[in-house]
Symmetry: C2
Subunit: 260 residues, 2 copies
């Protein structure tokens, strides 16, 4: 199965902009069933799925050797892996509190909300924004990301108006940094519906959904978006911008919201 | 609380090497209790913890507004946040399957194994390795990371002997890529005890623990390690190398295992 997907983007370089075809990394929900019991949905790249399933169960100590495995079946179209283990009691203990969803960059149980979010979370107040403002925000954002420069180990996230950074947070986890922003906005009574999220980290479906829940109309990242985050942004009417660096950026969705 | 930590490293540039003090990003386990019920342990940066707790519970729909919160108490020394909500029934549903542990780059329920791993997972077969071999492996590793070059959105991971790459996997998630490696190794009967793990991603405590469970004696990353991964590596006798790029690398633990 392909691990990348072709998408149409609007590429901006300084004053120039043109429509292009680009490739993004595929984000694939893969649900693992152990002896017909649903254990977890991993958000992953759809290659080496058998290895991923076995490796995950090995890491999480569902299995301790190859001989614990009876048989394995993959349904790649549905995104499901079935594994049958010989010793049921051994892993039954593990099932409790185990039903999480993660890309290895994820928070638990988030993905089940995706379908709801399709229906209920569409952006109600679209925001038009000038490309020049985004460039200015990015340059302010980069200046603030000092901890990142010091250690190379942390993600930055900011909530911005069209003209300035209002909230800024850092964390080793992309999701934590975003949760800190939304937590602070809630505590301080700051409306997020007319704001812009800037992040240093990759935009996965989970980041997209967290922002959509807060009705943030524009998300800008220094890094890459996944295929699933682009599909969700399209569906929810969110303007998704990636690889925003200096005078360059790629617009993935909602092109008409940009003002040149 | 500090979000960075000073550590002694061995910095290698080409033929030169010298001991230096460096700063690494602090990885802080923060456990959230809702109405005295333990919900989750986040692996995070220890700043804006109140905001993180509120934002996480907002994102996960434990709360829908500020008025749902009765009171909040932080115990920063213990790494615990207590939040009391007015409406208990509202979030009780959420508690099921909710007990996961994540850095926003994590897999569920992994962290509870840390203390065990301190006792049981110490590397039994230390591996000495030549710095020149690591440089060669890194350059082979970079050449293989094509998907990353195409899309900028994927992590690479490899299992290596001293001289060559044996297994290579890619995934949008650092943890998935590593699980694919260990899954393939198990399926193909490849011993991991005398091998080296190469990864493009940051080394968090969770990556370190996954590798320690497989008794991998040397872990090399193109990116940064966290404070907790360094402490674990020290404790477990694992050689931890970060920022391995071209002729440069930082050695964080187990210096004597390197041959110049």
């Amino acid at each position: 199965m392909d691990t990348i997907k072709k998408v149409d983007i609007l590429r901006i370089k300084g004053e120039e902009f043109k429509g292009e075809e680009d490739v993004v990394i595929l984000e694939y929900p893969f649900t693992i069933f152990v002896n017909d019991e649903e254990i977890i949905t991993l958000l992953c790249s759809p290659n080496s799925l058998k290895e991923l399933m076995v490796g995950f169960l090995f890491s999480e100590e569902f299995i301790s050797s190859l001989s614990d495995i009876d048989r394995i079946r993959l349904d790649e179209d549905k995104g499901i892996g079935y594994i049958y283990l010989k010793n049921i009691n051994q892993f039954n203990e593990k099932l409790r509190g185990k039903r999480t969803i993660t890309s290895g960059c994820g928070k638990g149980t988030l993905f089940y909300n995706v379908l709801d979010s399709f229906k209920s979370k569409r952006i109600k107040e679209p925001l038009s924004i000038e490309v020049e403002n985004i460039k200015r925000l990015i340059s302010k954002f980069n200046k603030k990301s000092e901890l990142f420069l010091n250690t190379g180990g942390v993600h930055s996230c900011a909530l911005c108006s069209a003209n300035d950074i209002i909230l800024f947070e850092e964390d080793i986890g992309r999701h934590n940094a975003l949760d800190k922003i939304f937590g602070k906005a809630l505590l301080e009574g700051i409306d997020t519906k007319d704001k812009i999220i800037l992040t240093s980290g990759r935009i996965s479906s989970e980041i997209l959904i967290k922002s959509a829940k807060r009705q943030v109309p524009v998300i800008v990242s220094r890094s890459a978006p996944t295929s699933l985050s682009i599909e969700l942004a399209e569906e929810l009417g969110i303007t998704l911008i990636g690889f925003a660096r200096g005078q360059k950026m790629n617009i993935y969705t909602n092109f008409p919201s940009l003002i040149f």
